[in-house]
Every structure is written in structure tokens, then in C-alpha cells.
Symmetry: C2
Subunit: 407 residues, 2 copies
């Protein structure tokens, strides 16, 4: 965890679960495998917080020092548990291998601690309810691998923590908004959510999308739900059609559900995004009757071959043009027999594109179009950033144009 | 940083840059916006380490307490810098807005510290070379937003840190391996890299890919490069054709470069991956003459329409079959006029597929095929995991089959 490559997923997971129990995380510390450093960190943590969770360092090697460090910080002893030891010998015997000597230290338990059986690995967890300087402290030791830590915390620790805390119920809602700047979303949403001081509001920004999370804790679930629903619907009204999901579904799933409800089918023709729209649509399970596929019309030749775009349009307006986008949407619809055709073309960069013989199209210029056989709608946008960002925004814009058409 | 949603990218960045300077990171601590908590954490950190970097908490609000906390921990004062204050007033005046009173605290500088000018935001950084308990300590204050922290560290801090440390030169190489289990890669590579105790070896596992990173530090660059090159080439020989890149290029770029060198063009027909292979190929800039596009043949209808797969094959063998994969690869090649056709079909799940009228194909079953007009090669695989994982592995397998054909 002290290398540049490891994302700290355990602490994010624990934070989410603890917050859901109404416990705020006040400190996180990452320490190397050194007994002095570890016991110092344990001592500091035990004075800072009421609940201290240690993860990792419970294995059989000499680097696994969490048990010893916590014992030293609490000035208590460690006893080797004959039950754990027997179970370990048994497990090795079943596999017909003799247990290496160093494994025995995994049976060392803090004085007074309960053992938390680990069904996904060899090192058990530990739970100690104790008193430090006159204050009650809950000390939890968990194994480091996420596949062991997560079930052990959820199954063995959460019910005990919940029983130790005042009863509270949590309600949560979230809104997803496409292609709007974070500052604009917040300018609309903040004046509303700031009046709900009992609801925790979080705004998150990811690729071409903003999410608003609302969390409320109350003595009863009905109270919490009522507050969070009331706030969510006010913010949704204010943001209006910019909100594509109020239950957390991704944009492509919302689109597929709307198409399915109306018995419509969809095909795509992608140039700049080269399959990104298609791969998002095919990432949702159970919709192969709605999204039938399409073409990656990267070359001019395939724009003609698979989407029937005319030489005239390509010569007169270029491959990156409103006319080409509209022809792609209409053409892919006709060629595939789908009810709706969706198309996107643009310049992903780096640098501009010399389109047709003479006209230079700037990097970031994107055209999207959607056609249902009766009418064709299109949109021109210019996105900034690198190739990845421009393509991600172009795909999001194509999907959002279709969503708007389906409202 | 104490919420479940924020990945701690700053500390990973700083760790990478510090490691490159030969500095190991011994502790990381995350603290909330509370003066007592912050100054306690600062005090502990100053006793633990020789270099202490603080990020965030340098803004104008009441929650921005890093300057005050570090001053308290070091028992030194803060002075308001007239130069910074004047520059701030000037900047606000240029925008014709009056400066809010609270902004002035951004001009507070630790006694004895040098100001690090921030060209990407309003809060300047600070550098203090001091002595605590008879030991030299370097204390660095950096703004929290990554877009401000990263350039300020690279430009203003790295040269100064390098000048304070013994001279060392670093050489780095990395190998990328597709579709081999981490344990198998390590079983082959570990006996070799373990004999190079002066090279730091790291094995990283991501979606359908393993990476081996080798880093060596020596008094001269030539020495470091020689050691890391020697190790890399030994490991590459042992792993043989499984290594697709020894300079870090992604698999799709390696393929496009090989095709380009031979003047070949490529088209794809994707069923299970629904555009993932195409979007990886189109993610690489400058290869639109090599990868011309293709089809997302999600429905049986489009397998026939765009890749000329016969009704007979689909009825007799089903859409998920070796025969269908081969017909897709051959068909997309013929329909598009590309030199090479690449195809993938399979069951992404969840659950099996009732293919043709009677035969059930299991979730995870994947067929890939590649055709150059002379011969067609194909491969059958069964991948485990969820829909995302199966599709990711299927796309990687399709690309890797093509790479093998191009060797």
C-alpha cells in the first residue's frame, strides 16, 4: 500500500459500510511492515477514535506484525489458541502437507479478543471490546486480501457494530446527469440541497457525467426515505430533462428499456467512437432483441458500403459534417432494417483532419444524428481534451441525443 | 478523502515520483478538516520521517487549516506575505471583482519557508528546510487539486529534493503479457528476477493482462540501464511469445504497427464483444489507413447482412460456434475488402444461450477467428466471471490471436 501502483480499495469499502452504519471515518493511516512503526500507529489510532480497524499483516510471515503491534499498543498479551492451531493442522493434514512452523503464529489471539472465523483464507480476524483511558474502544483485526476482508467485515463485524450503536435507518437516492458541467449542476442543485441539512449530499464527476448522491439517517426508515425522496424530486424538477436516471441505471440501459417498452429496434454507425457506443449498448444483458448491432464506419469506403452514404455527400461536405452524420443515421437504419439509426462522426485528434480535398476540420468537432425513418435530428458539438476524452464525450452525446428523442 | 468515493490519486503520484528519486514512502495519513487532528498528525509525521509532504487545506475557507496546523506542530509562527497579498489583490482587480476578506489567509507563510508559486491556482505552495529534535526535516505544503499539486511538485520540488539527496540514476523497463495467469507468469519470471537483488521487480495484474516492471537505481545511468536490460531480456526469452510488448505499448498498437509495416488492412466482425475490439483499435491515433472498420454483428440478421454468414451455418452450428466465427472472419474480410478479417462470437451471460433450436451453449464460451484470404485460424476458449470480464477476455483473445498470426 506504500507503492505507487496499489489503489486502496479496502479503506474505501470499509468507509462506505461504516458510513452506512452512521459511523464517520476520521483518520486513515498506511504503515509499512515495521513493528515500531505499526505499534506507534496503533497507539495513536487508539487515542484518536472509538473504533479502530486494522487490515492486513495477519499472515504467517515475519512481515506480518499486526497482532504483535496491537498487543504492544494496548499493553496486553497474545495467547496461542489451541482450537485455531488444531484446525490449521487439520486443514494441512487434509491436503497431505505438513504445516510449516511459521504458520502457528496465525493462531495468536489478543487477550480478551473474540476470533472471527475466516472462510476465505487461513488467517482469522479478531474482535476486541476494551477500555483505553476510561473510554470504550472496539478494536477489529481483519486480513488484508479484499476477498477475505469484505465478507468477514460484512458477516462478522457489521451486525456486532450495529448492535453497539444507536439505532438508525438510512435512505439513499442518486441522480445521474449527462454532459452538463459540474459547476452548472451544482449551481442549480446546491441552493436546494443546502436547505436539507439532515441529508448528506455529494456531487461526483466522471467521464461526461455528473452524479448527485443523497443520504439520510433517521430513527425510522420511513422518515429517512421521506426526506431523501423529497429532496431528490425537488432537485430532479430543477434539473429537468438533464437528469437521465434517478435510480442509478446507466444511460445505455435507460435507452434500451425505453426502446424495448415501445417495441423499437436500434442500429448504430460509428466513426470517431469506433465501437464505443455499441460496446456500451451490448454491455447491458438481455437486450439483444432491441439493439441489433451496426457498423464501425471508420473508413469512407465502409460509410458507403455499410451505411449507404453517397459519394456526393462525402465529396461535398466531408466525412465529418452534419450531412454525413445524418446520412449515416438514415443509412444504417435502412441497411439493417432497424426502427432507429444512431450515428456519430468527428475528429478525435490529435490535430485537425484534412477532410474532403480542401477543408480542415478542427480536433474535437463532433456530429451526432438519430433517425427514425420519419425525421432525422442532429447536433454539432466541439469537445476539448485528449483523444480518449473527446471519444468518450462523443459516445455520451450520441446516446444522450437518442435519449432526448425518446422522451 | 475520508469518503468512500474518492480515490487517493495524489499520494500514488507523489509515491511514484519520490520512489524515482530513491525516496521510500514510509507513512501516509489522511485526516479531516480539524485543527487539533491536523496538528497531531503533523507532529507525528514530523517525528516519523525526514521529508513530510502535506497536500490540501491551503484554500481560503475556514476548513483550510494546513498552514495553521503545521505552524502549531513546529511551534513556529505564520506571517502574512505582503508580496502574495499584493499579487492576489492585483489578480482580483484584473477580473474587476473585489477580493473576499477570507482570501487573505492564503498569503500566510510559515516562518522561514520559501513560497512555491502556483501557476494553476490561487493557493501557493511552501517549502521549509528546518531542524526538529536535532534532525534535518524538509516540510512541503502543496495545494490539493491534482492539476495544481502535480506540476508544482514536479517543477518546484523535485529539483530541490534531488539536490538534497545523493546522486542516483534510474532505469526502467516493463513487459506486457496477454491472457496468462499471474501465478504462471510469476513461476517463470520469479526465479530469474530474484537473482537480480539490485533491481526492483513488480508484477501487476489487470484485465486479461499481466505486467512486469523492473526498476534499477545506480550511480550512473549506464550501469542501471545495463542491469535492467539484461534482466528484461532474460525474462522475455523465458516467457517467449507470451510477451507482446517490451516497451509498454498496448496490444492493439502492437498489432496496428505490425499490420502497417506489412501494408495490410484489417476489418472486424464482433458479436459478444459488441464493438470492444473496434474501440480499442480506433483508440490508437494515426492508423485509420490500417484499421478500416467493420461490423457489430449482434443479431443473426446482421451476421448474414454485413459478414455474409450463410443461413446453413447458423442453423446447423448456431451463432456461437467455430464455424460461425470462421465464416464471420472470412465474410467481413470479403465484404469490406480488407486484407485480414478478425471475428469473435460467444456467450457473455448471465446464463447460457439457447443457440439454434436445440443446443444450449454455456456462459463464457467464446470462439475467435482470423482470416487472411489464404487460411483461417480459430480458437475456442471458456472464460469465467461476470459479463464484463468475459467480454474483456474475449476481446483480448481476439486481438492476441491476430498478434500470434502476425509473428
Amino acid at each position: 500500500m506504500l507503492t505507487p501502483h496499489r489503489q486502496d480499495t479496502n479503506s474505501l469499502y470499509l468507509t462506505e459500510r461504516l458510513n452506512a452504519l452512521g459511523v464517520a471515518v476520521a483518520f486513515k493511516t498506511i504503515v509499512g511492515d515495521n513493528l515500531q512503526h505499526l505499534s506507534d500507529a496503533a497507539r495513536i489510532a487508539l487515542h484518536r477514535a472509538d473504533i479502530v480497524i486494522f487490515s492486513g499483516g495477519l499472515g504467517p510471515t515475519e512481515d506480518d506484525l499486526t497482532r504483535e503491534a496491537v498487543a504492544a499498543a494496548l499493553c496486553i498479551g497474545l495467547s496461542r489458541s489451541p482450537e485455531i492451531l488444531t484446525a490449521m493442522y487439520k486443514r494441512f493434514a487434509e491436503r497431505r502437507v505438513s504445516m510449516p512452523e511459521n504458520n502457528a503464529k496465525q493462531a495468536d489471539v489478543l487477550d480478551g479478543a473474540d476470533v472471527l472465523q475466516n472462510n476465505n483464507g487461513s488467517a482469522p480476524g479478531q474482535w476486541l471490546d476494551t477500555v483505553v483511558d476510561g473510554h470504550r474502544k472496539i478494536v477489529i483485526l481483519l486480513p488484508g486480501p479484499p476477498k477475505e476482508l469484505m465478507p468477514l467485515f460484512t458477516e462478522a463485524c457489521e451486525p456486532r457494530l450495529a448492535a453497539s450503536l444507536p439505532e438508525r435507518h438510512f435512505a439513499k437516492r442518486w441522480l445521474r446527469i449527462a454532459l452538463m458541467p459540474e459547476s452548472k449542476v451544482d449551481a442549480i442543485a446546491a441552493p436546494i440541497y443546502q436547505t436539507y441539512t439532515d441529508v448528506e449530499s455529494t456531487i461526483l464527476s466522471s467521464a461526461a457525467e455528473i452524479q448527485l448522491h443523497f443520504l439520510c439517517a433517521k430513527p425510522t426508515l420511513a422518515e429517512a426515505q421521506q426526506r431523501v425522496d423529497e429532496l431528490t424530486s425537488k432537485v430532479e424538477d430543477a434539473l429537468d430533462e438533464a437528469v437521465f436516471s434517478s435510480q442509478g441505471e446507466p444511460l445505455e440501459e435507460i435507452i434500451l428499456l425505453r426502446l424495448q417498452m415501445r417495441g423499437l429496434t436500434l442500429a448504430t454507425a460509428e466513426s470517431i467512437t469506433g465501437g464505443m457506443v455499441a460496446s456500451r449498448l451490448t454491455g447491458v444483458a438481455g437486450h439483444s432483441d432491441t439493439y441489433i448491432g451496426g457498423a464501425v464506419t471508420y473508413s469512407a469506403h465502409l460509410k458507403k458500403k455499410f451505411a449507404g452514404v453517397s459519394d456526393e455527400i462525402l465529396k461535398q461536405h466531408g466525412t465529418v459534417s452534419d450531412q454525413a452524420a445524418r446520412a449515416l443515421a438514415e443509412g444504417i437504419r435502412e441497411q439493417t432494417g432497424a426502427s432507429i439509426g444512431l450515428a456519430v462522426t468527428g475528429v478525435a485528434g490529435p490535430g485537425p483532419l484534412l477532410d474532403t480535398d480542401s477543408i480542415e476540420k478542427p480536433c474535437g468537432l463532433v456530429f451526432v444524428a438519430v433517425s427514425d425513418g420519419v425525421s432525422t435530428e442532429s447536433l454539432q458539438k466541439t469537445f476539448t481534451g485528449d483523444r480518449d476524452r473527446i471519444r468518450t464525450f462523443a459516445a455520451q452525446q450520441a446516446l444522450d441525443l437518442l435519449r432526448q428523442k425518446l422522451i
